[in-house]
Symmetry: C2
Subunit: 335 residues, 2 copies
Amino acid sequence: MEPEKVRAPNIRDVARLAGVSYQTVSRVLNEHPSIRETTKQRVLDVITEIGYRPNQAARALVTSRSRTIGVLTAQTADYGPSTSVTAIEHAAREAGYRITVTSIASSEYTSIRVALDQLLTQAVEALVVIAPQVRVLEAIRELHIDVPYVTLQNADMGEADHTMSIDQVAGARLATQHLIDLGHTEIMHISGPRDWIEADARMQGYLNAVNDADLRTRAPILGDWTAHFGYYAGLELLRFRDFTALFAGNDQMALGFMHACWDSGLSVPGDISVVGFDDIPEAAHFYPPLTTIRQNFAEIGRRAVSLLLAELQGTRVDQAQITPELVVRRSTAAL
Amino acid sequence: MEPEKVRAPNIRDVARLAGVSYQTVSRVLNEHPSIRETTKQRVLDVITEIGYRPNQAARALVTSRSRTIGVLTAQTADYGPSTSVTAIEHAAREAGYRITVTSIASSEYTSIRVALDQLLTQAVEALVVIAPQVRVLEAIRELHIDVPYVTLQNADMGEADHTMSIDQVAGARLATQHLIDLGHTEIMHISGPRDWIEADARMQGYLNAVNDADLRTRAPILGDWTAHFGYYAGLELLRFRDFTALFAGNDQMALGFMHACWDSGLSVPGDISVVGFDDIPEAAHFYPPLTTIRQNFAEIGRRAVSLLLAELQGTRVDQAQITPELVVRRSTAAL
DNA sequence: CCATTGCTTGTGTACGTTCACATTCTCAAC
DNA sequence: GTTGAGAATGTGAACGTACACAAGCAATGG
């Protein structure tokens, strides 16, 4: 007498025990309106009693709807992306969807292809992209992906339909303008990697602000979002002290840069003012507390989902851009 | 003439075009040994040509295997959990599994139940838990979950089979001992929240080390992992300067605490030495750079997956504990 | 009292795949 | 040339659900 593998109960088991047809059970599950209250209750009782769970695979098979949203992210543990993913997960869950996350190891084309391929094989109904988007977008077009998708940051690429935009250009402008307002005229910028759309947008905002103020434009340094990069770039840059303010593409690089400042015997904001971007929770506790641009990552995630869900239902929603916000702390001071 | 919705190609379409039976195609897909090379190639050609993708739902239905690993995480964007999740995803993908992530909003019982319920409904074959584990473990038992599961941190709860352990107790000992070796005798500890097993383990390591050295034991402060908490707890603690060293349960709280030190006019490590835990990438760039305990989060994730996969195949692997490592930086100094 | 309507329930079928079993083919050994 | 074994391929089920349609039932109106 083996403890023989018990089959999980199915819809017919429920039906038998409740004394109805399987179709009636199906109706209860799908909240069909025409079902007598007593019958419904009887079915529900049986369901909880025997611990029945609808088989998602069977459901997906017959409806050809996976109720799954794919999330494609860069292999990063950064605060922003992580926060957004969590928000996406919650919003999706509330709408009866689940998410499946795939991260890409590098931004190489094959890596992206493999990741997209896996997502498609899982029959995702929609796609959220949080990654080096330029290349990913290319891959999406090339693979003829026809599910609704959305990229999580501002893209000024004529892809308005597929973009959940925080106005990063405006955010970067805000940051740069803040430095200008403090009287700085020589402002450096360390940006994110080349193929990140948001890096590009922030750089654009910086350039716009500097140009509008008729200040000297300096070639931004292309970084990789890490504090390490900020540190080493800082050590290099500070050998020539020909600037008095720095706008970093994110808070981590700002942190690294400030570290380089102390190591070079310079004070922030005494000698150099620093502005970051993102407002990660730690930024308020940096030394000195970092002036930065706050982004509502959770809100972006939520909106991305609602945008996709709307598209799945054939409706369109006009999404207002989310405006980022300047948070002034002690890392910036008047010249 | 509508552009009528084209049905995705199925296994029979492939079979027809390749001039074989659908079962032959199935064999090609599942790498059955007895299949002629020429036939196999013909089938593969057709597959790539028409862009056929096996329907996972149908597969899951008939095999009753979802090839999905569920990940239950706390709603946190912290470096550690995020890194582990990414590693889990990669390891799972290599083994032909995918992951589905669900995060719990609060550590309330219902919240945990809902999350677990969603995971079970998705028929996950295994479960990784990165969350306030004490309560989650209770829920797992209560719901009679019978899939293999693993918690991602050390649990000294007689659950060795289900634990992917980094030896956190040892790590905390290491941190505390480092302070003792530097001559400190009054050492405070800010720990993580009550129901996190890892918080508990770190506290245990601290207490062990302090006891073994016959030092005064101080009641640890229960924190919430955030820099904010570290800051405010620090402001409070520093009103009585009756300690010379602090071991924080993670790097964020250490950062907040150091912030409180500057605000209180104290120098780190001049007046107070600080040790963190985790070695997040930013820790090397704190002011001063933080002495901390490095954990290999990615390795934990990988091992968790291999543990689960082994269990699914009925084999058992003995997992050596991963030992954390002390990284000495400038936030600690001899008394 | 019967026809009509709307609510409630039941029956057949399809979704796309794999498994168990059956069949055909190939080649070597007697 | 026959037999047999193993390789290669094919046929009929089954997985658990939702949809289309059919049918039963009660209430309403004439």
